[in-house]
């Protein structure tokens, strides 16, 4: 039986609300907003900030609306003098201890604390800063910087790291004034199990969590006449970067983005989607080979670097299941500094590869010590020494950092007419676009694997069972009698559910796609801080729309990828591919 609705009175007006809600959600459902700095629906319920106070008739004290369940007959007031004063005092106390660096803070524009303080009319903080404690800033990670001095202890990051990602790299430590969010023995994120996904950073209401900023290095390279600076852009970036320029969520700005990057001064504007198509060729053939040769199954995708580090920490036993394919970002770097350098006769030492990613973990991936395959390729021919060593990908910018550079250069992004990517590494198919959404890599792989195995054209390219924002999606694909069960997970706590079976050799699937972030790359830790709570489905729709608009929608149809095989790589899984496009993984923790 469905529970009947509750009759409540909010600010003097009667409402019928769903049972089981907290006061805050019930109020928001009827259009009354209550400010909060810690609550996140369905995610974080720490009752830490004390901003969401409301007055409930009959209750002695003011109630925190985020954790107080709504009851039948309740009379709630969200805007009384008592409520207002209490909220303001609590906010002023938070502000008293908060650094006043708003002008130069990374989150200056997007800070929730600053916004709430402004909205609540705080123009003066009456309380002086009493605490002299200065916490050290954790800069150990190549992806994320943590500044506990700016932290208001809302607990969102701890909550996301635990519930969404099941990583639990960070937790509170100490008590009273010494409280802070930190890692084991304050060793820093780099020594922890942190997978660099940046979901913590997306939910942080202040500037306590930010990405490692690489824009200065990129500017320097762009103005260096001796360097040939090329850029690659991930699929999910074009579905979100418009939000940074006050465009609505879901604005498709591929052509504007290409033009803006050319204006910034990149010598060539290329596309990670080119190497996404390349990834499908390698990974598709790897899957076929594993199926035909009774290799390790299920095979699991390897594009998401957060997931790779997660597996290395928590599931070292299943590493042989992970495809040996590098991610599209890394394939791009390796190809740009070998094939492209050769074809256009450019000294690979002069090529700087900048990648723009929706992701903070990609910064870590680019700096993995093994990601120097182009250097190894040239070492003999060019007589390179140890000190000449270079990475395949030099700098990784998040969507936000790229937007900042575009703003800094005075480019009026939303008014650009739009241009195309450069050839040949800017050519891509629709299969590559959908890498940006959870389920996309799987769908792209099936499109190719199906046609390679059957030799016939696939009639329906859309696999709707693999689309959408569900945490785990499954589907059975029939390839001329060969029935392939496949699964897709996004968010590492969802991935965990599938991995247990893989570890126990009981997984019913042949192929599994895992994306670290909820929604896939479109919800990545490097994406814009969206004021639109519905940004993810809109970005997703944009990605599928771009796929529909592409004349070619299957990776093996990409003419530039086919030329790459003809002129350089020979064939998928060939000798050169093995050296340049494939990698290995290693266990990060001693077994018990």
């Amino acid at each position: 039986m469905k529970e009947s609705k509750l009759s409540v009175k909010i600010d003097g007006k009667s409402y019928q609300v769903e049972p089981g809600l907290a006061i805050l959600d019930a109020c928001r459902n009827v259009g009354i907003d209550i400010p909060t700095l810690c609550y996140l629906k369905g995610l974080s319920k720490e009752a830490a900030c004390s901003i969401c106070l409301v007055e409930v008739t009959g209750a002695k004290a003011l109630m925190r609306s985020c954790v107080t369940p709504i009851n039948n007959g309740m009379e709630i007031y969200t805007n009384t003098e008592r409520v207002r004063n209490a909220r303001r005092i609590n906010l002023e106390l938070l502000l008293a201890g908060h650094p006043k660096e708003c002008l130069s803070c990374d989150r200056s524009e997007t800070c929730e604390l600053r916004k709430i303080a402004f909205d609540m009319g705080i123009r003066e903080v009456r309380f002086p800063k009493t605490s002299k404690t200065e916490f050290p800033i954790d800069k150990t990670s190549v992806s994320i910087i943590r500044d506990p001095n700016k932290c208001i202890l809302c607990g969102r990051c701890v909550s996301v790291c635990s519930s969404i990602q099941s990583v639990q790299a960070i937790d509170f430590s100490g008590r009273g004034k010494a409280s802070k969010v930190t890692t084991f023995f304050d060793q820093g994120l780099a020594s922890s199990v942190c997978v660099n996904c940046g979901q913590c950073l997306l939910v942080c209401p202040t500037g306590a969590l930010t990405e490692q900023n690489e824009t200065e290095e990129v500017w320097k390279a762009l103005f260096d006449p001796d360097k040939f600076v090329v850029v690659e852009v991930a699929p999910a970036v074009r579905a979100a970067i418009g939000e940074e320029f006050a465009m609505p969520a879901g604005s498709l700005v591929t052509a504007k983005l290409a033009q803006a990057l050319r204006k910034l001064g990149f010598s060539k504007v290329f596309d990670t989607q080119f190497s996404a198509d390349l990834t499908i060729m390698e990974e598709g053939y790897e899957l076929i080979s594993r199926i035909k040769n009774k290799g390790v199954l299920p095979m699991i995708t390897s594009c998401s670097p957060g997931w790779i580090k997660f597996a290395e920490h928590f599931f070292p036993g299943i590493l042989p299941h992970i495809s040996t394919c590098k991610s599209p970002q890394q394939m791009f770097g390796a190809i740009a500094k070998t094939y492209y350098a050769k074809k256009y006769n450019i000294d690979p030492r002069k090529i700087i590869v900048v990648s723009i990613m929706p992701c903070t973990a990609k910064k870590f991936e680019a700096k993995r010590p093994e990601m120097k395959d182009a250097f190894k390729y040239w070492q003999k021919d060019l007589n390179l020494k140890k000190e000449d060593e270079f990475y395949d990908v030099d700098y990784v910018l998040t969507t936000r950092e790229a937007a900042r550079m575009i703003r800094e250069a005075g480019i009026n992004f939303s008014n650009l007419n739009g241009e195309d990517f450069d050839e040949p590494l800017g050519i891509s198919t629709g299969a590559a676009v959908i890498f940006g959404a959870t389920g996309g890599v799987m769908e792209a792989a099936i499109r190719t694997v199906h046609e390679v195995l059957t030799g016939k054209e696939l009639e329906k390219l859309e696999f709707n069972a693999l689309r959408g924002l569900d945490g785990i999606k499954v589907c059975e694909v029939d390839i001329q009698g060969l029935k392939l069960k496949v699964a897709v997970a996004n968010g590492l706590s969802n991935a965990r559910k599938l991995l247990k079976d893989v570890g126990d050799n009981k997984s019913p699937y042949a192929f599994i796609e895992i994306m670290t972030c909820p929604g896939g790359c479109l919800g990545g830790g490097g994406q814009p801080f969206s004021a639109d709570g519905e940004a993810k489905p809109k970005r997703m729709e944009t990605i599928y729309q771009e796929d529909r608009n592409k004349p070619l929608r299957k990776s093996h149809q990409n003419p530039a990828v086919n030329a790459l095989y003809k002129e350089f790589l020979d064939k998928p899984l060939g000798e050169k591919s093995h050296h340049l496009l494939h990698t290995h993984y290693s266990r990060r923790q001693e077994p018990l």
Binding site: F172, G174, T183, S192
Partner: protein, 171 residues
């Protein structure tokens, strides 16, 4: 030699973990007993990592616990402990003066603000700590010396009590 010692500690730890398996609050008990095992009543990195693995608890959570409770030590402790209560009742009745007196008495440097107070003499004989509350508020302010509570203290009384104890135990 170090390795042998480690293995010995590990087996001791295993015993403790098995003893408290599936009991409520097991983690606190395990950590408490582990601390007792240590000659300096102190928890180190390695043992905590081991407990984390064996109890399938994230190390970040373990660190949360051991930094929250003042009972747990991350620094080697002196043979004798002197604990000043810094709870509200003791504070209003002058426990800050007691702490200041003891810091001076032992010649410690003032601890940094926001840091947990845990000061040990160079000869590793005495450790001075604070606690949030002993639950002995009616007797405030209180000081605990090696497990005995001394009530309604003031610096003069404390001086008279502590002098002979210290002299006796210094030997």
């Amino acid at each position: 030699m170090q390795k042998k010692q480690d293995i010995k500690t590990m087996t001791e730890l295993d015993k403790i973990i098995i003893k408290y398996k599936n009991t409520p609050g097991m983690l606190l008990r395990v950590i408490e007993e582990t601390q007792k095992l240590d000659p300096h009543k102190c928890l180190n990195h390695k043992t905590l990592e081991y407990i984390a693995k064996k109890t399938k608890t994230p190390v970040s959570k373990i660190y949360n616990i051991v930094t929250f409770y003042t009972f747990f030590n991350l620094k080697p402790q002196g043979k004798h402990s002197i604990v000043v209560c810094r709870g509200t009742a003791c504070h209003t009745r002058g426990s800050r003066n007691l702490l200041d007196f003891l810091i001076k008495y032992f010649g410690f440097n003032e601890p940094a603000e926001g840091q947990q107070t845990s000061l040990t003499t160079n000869d590793k004989k005495f450790t001075l700590k604070t606690v949030a509350c002993f639950g002995q508020c009616a007797l405030a302010p209180v000081v605990e010396i090696d497990g005995n509570i001394y009530s309604r203290m003031n610096p003069e009384k404390l001086h008279k009590i502590i002098d002979p104890i210290i002299k006796k135990r210094k030997k």
